[in-house]
C-alpha cells in the first residue's frame, strides 16, 4: 500500500486548494492587470475611463417602428418609469430641463459664471444697450418668461449662464422628446450608477429597461434598440455563456462517446478528468497565492492552455499492457511525459518576467497547472486506476502503426517545406501578421457597433474616443490651463477640424476668471449713477431696477465658486466627471467630438507636458500590441530553453528537430491559413496557437518515444489518435460558434491539432527494429 501516501497528500492538497480557490480567490475583471507595471498617467486614466468613465456608464436607447405620437408617448412613459429606478443616475429624453434648484443656483451666481461680465457691461452705454434689448423682449410674447428676472437682471447674465447648459441639450425635439434627425427614432439616454464592468448591475439595469419598455409600449408595434458598453457586455456575456454551455455539452457528449468506445469503462473516463481538474485547481491557487487574486481572462485563457493535460491520462491508459501493473506502465511513459511537461513549463516560465501582470498570471497558471497535472498522472493515477484496462485487441492489433508510419515517412520533407511556404505566404500577404486593433477582440457584432455609432451621432453623446487630458497640481491650475486651451480649441471648431469639445471650465470658471469678473462689477454708488443716467429717456420707471443694484452689490462680495460649490445640483455630476483628482494631481478631461483631422489637432497642441492627447481606441490598441509583443518576445526567448531541454532530454539534435519541426510547421501553417482568412491574427489566435504548440510538442515526443515492440508502438499510436481526435472534435465544435472569441479559439486549435499530429507522424522516428 505504498501508493496510499501520495493519494492522501493529494486529497489534502486538493481540499486546501479548493478552499483557497473558492473562498480566498477574488476573480477580478479589472483591466489594470493588463496594464504594464510601469504604466504612465495616460494609460491609468485610459483604463479608469474605460472602467468607470461617464461614457462607459451610458446606455443609449432608441424606439422605432411606430408613428411619431406613439414613439413620443412611449419615450415619455419609459423615461418616467426609469427615473423612479435608482440603478440610474440620470435618465434623459429631452423632457427634462433644469430643476428649480439648478436654476436658482445659476441665477444666484450669475455674475461669477456669465462670460459676458465686464466693466463695459455696467457702464452707461452698456446699460442703455441692455435696456433697449429688454424693451424689445417685453414687447414680444416670450417677454412674459423673461420679465420675472428683469428687475434683478437687466443685463441678461442669467441667460448667458444658462447657455453652456442649454447648448449641450442634444438632439432635435419632436413632441417634446428627443428624436433622430429623420424623425424615425425616439432617443433616450440613461446613465447607470454601476460601471460598465459590473456585469450583474448592468444586467439588472438592462432588464429593468426592457421591463419598463414592455409596460410602456403596451401593444403598439414599437421596437427598443439598446446600445452602450453596459448593454454590449451583458449581451456578449449572455451569448458567450450560452454558446459555451451548449457547445461544451456537445463536446462532452462527443468525447465521452469516443472514450467509451475505446475504454468501455465509466471509471476510466471519469479518471481521465482528474489530471486536468487538478491542474486547473493548482493553477488557480498558484496565481491566487502569487498575486492575491486571479483575473477572469487568466482563468479563461489559462484553462484553454491546460488543454494539453487532457492528453496525459490517455497516454497512460492506452499503454497498460495485459499482465502489467499501471505503476510499471507509468514508469515506461514517464520520461517522455516529463520531457513534454518540462518543455511546456519552460515555454511559459518566460512570462514570469513580463511587465504585464496579466501575462505573468497566465504563465504561472499554465506552468503550475501542467506540472500539477503531470505529477498527478505520475503519482496519483496509477493508484486510482483499475488494475487492468482492457482495450479491444482488434484496435491494438489492427492499427499497424509501423506500416502506417513508414508510408507517411515518405512525406517527411513536407513539414519543413510547409514552414517555408507558410512564412512566404505570411510575408507576401502584405498585411501585418497581428491585428492589434482592440475592436478585433470585441465580441460585439459589426451591425451592433454601427447602430451604436449612429445613436451616438444622433444623441450627440460623447464616445470618449478622443480626449485631451489636462493635468496640474490643483483644480485651479487645471481650470486655468483648460481656459487657455479653450482659446486654442475654439478656432479648430470654427475651421471644422472637429465638431466640438466639452470641458469643466465651461461650467466652472477658474477662480482667477471669477475674481476678474467680480472686480469688473461696479461699486453700488457708481452703479446707481450709471443706472440713473442710462434710464433717462427710457420708458422704464426710475426705481425699476433697485433689486438689480442690491444683487450686484451682494455679488461684488460673494465668495468665489470651486468644484465643491456645485454639490447638490445636477451640475455636480457633470463637473465631477470632467474634473477630478488622480493620485496627487488634478485632471481635467476634455472630450472631443467629431474629430475630422487628428493630425491638425495634435499639431495645435504641441509641446506642453501638462497636456496629453489620447485616442482611446488607438491607445488601448497600443496597450494590446505591447502585451502581444511582449508575449511573443518572451515565448521566443523561451524557445532557447526548450531547444536545450529537448536536446538534453532526447540526447540528440535530430530528436530535437523531429519534435520541434512538426510543432513549428503546425503553428506556421495554421497562422498562415488564418491570416489569409481573417487578414490578421488577434490575441485569441495567439493563445490558441500556444495550445497548438503545446499539443504538437507533446504528440511529437510520444511519436519519438523509444518503443520495444510493435504492440507498444501501436498503443502509442492509439493514444495519439485519441488525443488528437478529441482535440479536433472538441475545438471543431467550438469553431461552429458565431461568437468571435469561441470561433477563433475553436478553429485555430482544431486545425492546428490536426496538422500537428499529421506532421509529427510524418517526422516520427523510424524504429530500429523495423528500419
Amino acid at each position: 500500500m505504498r501508493g496510499r501516501l501520495p493519494v492522501f497528500a493529494w486529497l489534502v492538497l486538493m481540499a486546501i486548494g479548493l478552499w483557497i480557490a473558492l473562498f480566498r480567490t477574488p476573480i477580478s475583471t479589472d483591466l489594470t492587470h493588463f496594464l504594464p507595471k510601469k504604466a504612465g498617467m495616460a494609460e491609468q486614466i485610459l483604463v479608469e475611463q474605460l472602467r468607470q468613465g461617464v461614457a462607459s456608464r451610458l446606455l443609449l436607447m432608441a424606439l422605432e417602428g411606430g408613428n411619431e405620437t406613439d414613439l413620443a408617448g412611449v419615450s415619455r412613459h419609459l423615461a418616467e418609469q426609469l427615473r423612479k429606478n435608482d440603478s440610474f443616475v440620470r435618465v434623459d429624453n429631452g423632457t427634462q430641463g433644469l430643476s428649480a434648484a439648478d436654476r436658482e443656483f445659476l441665477f444666484r451666481n450669475r455674475y461669477l459664471l456669465s462670460p459676458k461680465v465686464s466693466e463695459q457691461r455696467f457702464s452707461v452705454a452698456g446699460l442703455r444697450q441692455a435696456f433697449e434689448a429688454r424693451l424689445a423682449e417685453l414687447a414680444s410674447p416670450a417677454g412674459l418668461l423673461e420679465k420675472e428676472f428683469l428687475p434683478r437682471d437687466p443685463t441678461g447674465e442669467f441667460l448667458e449662464t444658462l447657455r453652456p447648459w442649454m447648448k449641450s441639450a442634444g438632439p432635435s425635439l419632436r413632441q417634446g422628446v428627443w428624436f433622430s434627425p429623420d424623425g424615425k427614432r425616439a432617443l433616450l439616454v440613461a446613465e447607470t450608477k454601476a460601471p460598465a464592468f459590473d456585469l450583474d448591475a448592468q444586467a439588472e439595469a438592462v432588464t429593468s429597461i426592457r421591463d419598463s419598455f414592455a409596460a410602456a409600449r403596451e401593444n403598439r408595434p414599437i421596437e427598443l434598440l439598446l446600445s452602450g458598453p453596459g448593454a454590449f457586455s451583458v449581451e456578449a456575456n449572455a451569448t458567450i455563456t450560452q454558446d459555451a454551455v451548449r457547445l461544451s455539452l456537445l463536446n462532452t457528449l462527443a468525447i465521452t462517446l469516443l472514450l467509451a468506445a475505446v475504454y468501455r469503462s465509466v471509471r476510466v473516463i471519469l479518471l481521465g478528468l482528474v489530471p486536468l481538474a487538478t491542474g486547473a485547481l493548482a493553477g488557480t491557487c498558484a496565481v491566487s497565492l502569487w498575486s492575491g487574486g486571479i483575473h477572469g481572462i487568466t482563468l479563461g485563457f489559462g484553462a484553454t492552455l491546460l488543454g494539453v493535460a487532457a492528453d496525459y491520462p490517455n497516454h497512460l491508459f492506452t499503454h497498460v499492457r495485459r499482465g502489467e501493473t499501471s505503476r510499471q506502465t507509468v514508469r515506461l511513459i514517464w520520461p517522455t511525459l516529463r520531457l513534454g511537461i518540462l518543455t511546456n513549463v519552460a515555454g511559459f516560465a518566460a512570462t514570469l518576467f513580463s511587465g504585464f501582470e496579466g501575462l505573468s498570471q497566465l504563465g504561472v497558471f499554465a506552468a503550475t497547472g501542467l506540472m500539477a497535472a503531470g505529477l498527478t498522472c505520475r503519482w496519483i493515477m496509477p493508484t486510482l486506476m483499475p488494475d487492468h484496462i482492457d482495450l479491444p485487441n482488434r484496435i491494438i492489433k489492427g492499427l499497424h502503426a509501423d506500416e502506417f508510419l513508414t508510408r507517411l515517412h515518405r512525406f517527411r520533407f513536407v513539414p519543413p517545406l510547409l514552414i517555408l511556404v507558410a512564412i512566404a505566404s505570411i510575408a507576401g500577404s502584405g498585411v501585418p501578421l497581428w491585428n492589434d486593433d482592440i475592436e478585433a477582440l470585441s465580441p460585439v457584432p459589426e451591425s451592433r457597433k454601427a447602430l451604436d455609432e449612429a445613436l451616438r451621432r444622433d444623441l450627440g453623446a460623447p464616445d470618449l474616443r478622443q480626449l485631451i487630458v489636462v493635468t496640474g497640481e490643483d483644480a485651479e491650475t487645471v481650470l486655468r490651463r483648460s481656459e487657455h486651451l479653450r482659446g486654442i480649441l475654439q478656432p479648430l471648431v470654427d475651421n471644422k477640424t472637429m465638431a466640438g469639445f466639452d470641458m469643466a471650465a465651461f461650467y466652472l470658471p477658474s477662480r482667477e476668471t471669477q475674481s476678474l469678473r467680480q472686480s469688473a462689477l461696479p461699486e453700488t454708488e457708481a452703479l446707481r449713477r450709471n443706472l440713473d443716467e442710462a434710464l433717462q429717456g427710457t420708458p422704464f420707471k426710475p426705481n425699476a431696477f433697485e433689486p438689480f443694484v442690491a444683487d450686484l452689490s451682494q455679488a461684488k462680495r460673494a465668495p468665489l465658486l470651486d468644484e465643491t460649490s456645485f454639490a447638490g445640483t445636477s451640475f455636480g455630476l457633470k463637473i465631477e466627471s470632467l474634473l477630478f483628482r488622480h493620485a496627487d494631481r488634478w485632471v481635467a478631461l476634455i472630450p472631443l467630438i467629431g474629430v475630422a483631422d487628428a493630425a491638425q489637432l495634435q499639431a495645435a497642441l504641441v509641446a506642453d507636458k501638462n497636456l496629453i492627447y489620447l485616442d482611446l481606441r488607438e491607445e488601448s490598441s497600443r496597450l494590446l500590441r505591447d502585451y502581444r509583443r511582449e508575449a511573443t518576445h518572451l515565448l521566443g526567448a523561451s524557445l532557447v530553453a526548450i531547444v536545450i531541454l529537448l536536446t538534453a532530454g532526447l540526447r540528440s539534435m535530430g530528436g530535437m528537430l523531429r519534435v520541434l519541426t512538426p510543432m513549428a510547421a503546425a503553428a506556421f501553417v495554421t497562422a498562415a491559413v488564418l491570416m489569409r482568412l481573417h487578414g490578421g491574427l488577434s490575441l485569441y489566435h495567439l493563445v490558441s496557437l500556444l495550445l497548438v504548440m503545446g499539443l504538437g510538442m507533446d504528440q511529437a515526443l510520444f511519436f519519438n518515444k523509444p518503443s520495444r515492440t510493435p504492440e507498444e508502438r501501436n498503443r502509442t499510436f492509439l493514444s495519439l489518435l485519441i488525443c488528437s481526435f478529441s482535440a479536433v472534435t472538441a475545438f471543431g465544435i467550438l469553431a461552429t460558434s458565431n461568437v468571435n472569441i469561441l470561433n477563433a479559439i475553436g478553429s485555430t486549435v482544431a486545425m492546428g491539432a490536426a496538422l500537428a499530429v499529421l506532421f509529427a507522424a510524418m517526422l516520427a522516428r523510424r524504429n530500429p527494429s523495423s528500419a
Partner: protein
Amino acid sequence: MTSGIKTDWAHRLARRIRHISRWLGILLGFVFTATLASAAERWDIDALMSALSRIDSGEKRYTEIKTMALLKEPMRLSGTLSYRAPSFLEKHVLSPFEERYTVDGDSLTIENPGKGIKQTLSLASQPAIWAFVESIRAPLAGDLATLNRFYKVNFGGSERNWLLALVPTEPDMARLVRFIRIRGSGDRFDRIEIEETGGDVSVMTIEHQP
C-alpha cells in the same frame, strides 16, 4: 305679553315667506326664460367651439396695449394675426418694430428681420409657451380638449357678446399668468386680455373692419 310677541313673530314669518316666494317666482321666471332662450340659440361653449371649428383661415389687424409695473407708460403694438386650420397661427408685429411669431404644429419660429434673428423651438419643450399658444390656437381650432388640458375653462354670455375665461392649470404658466379672457361675438374674437400674476395687463383688440 307672551301671546303678543307670538303673533308678532308669526306675522313676521308669514310676511317673510310671502316675500321669499315672490322672489322665488321671479327667479323661476328668469330661469324659465333663460332655458327657453338657450334652447332657442343653444349658445354654450360647445356651440362656440363648433362655430369656430368651421373657420378655415383668416387674417386680422390688431392693436395691443401692455401695461407694466416696470414702465412709466403702457406700450402700444400693432400688426396682424393670421390663422389657418388646424394648427397654423402667426402673430406679425409691424409697429413699433417688425417681428414675426409663427406656430405650426409643434414648432414655434421667431423671426426678427431687423436683428437678423430666426430661431425655431419645440412647443413641447417649453410648456409655458405652449400653454400660451393654445390659449388662442385651441379656441380658433374649436379644440376644447386641448384647451381643457392647459386651462380651467369658464364660459358665459350670449352669442352676441360672449366671454371665454381661462385660468391656467399648467404649473409653469400658472406661475406667470393669472387668467386670460377672450371676448367675442359669434365666431369672432374681439378682445384678448391677459393678466399676469405680477399684475401686468395686456389687452389686444382685434379689428374686424379692414
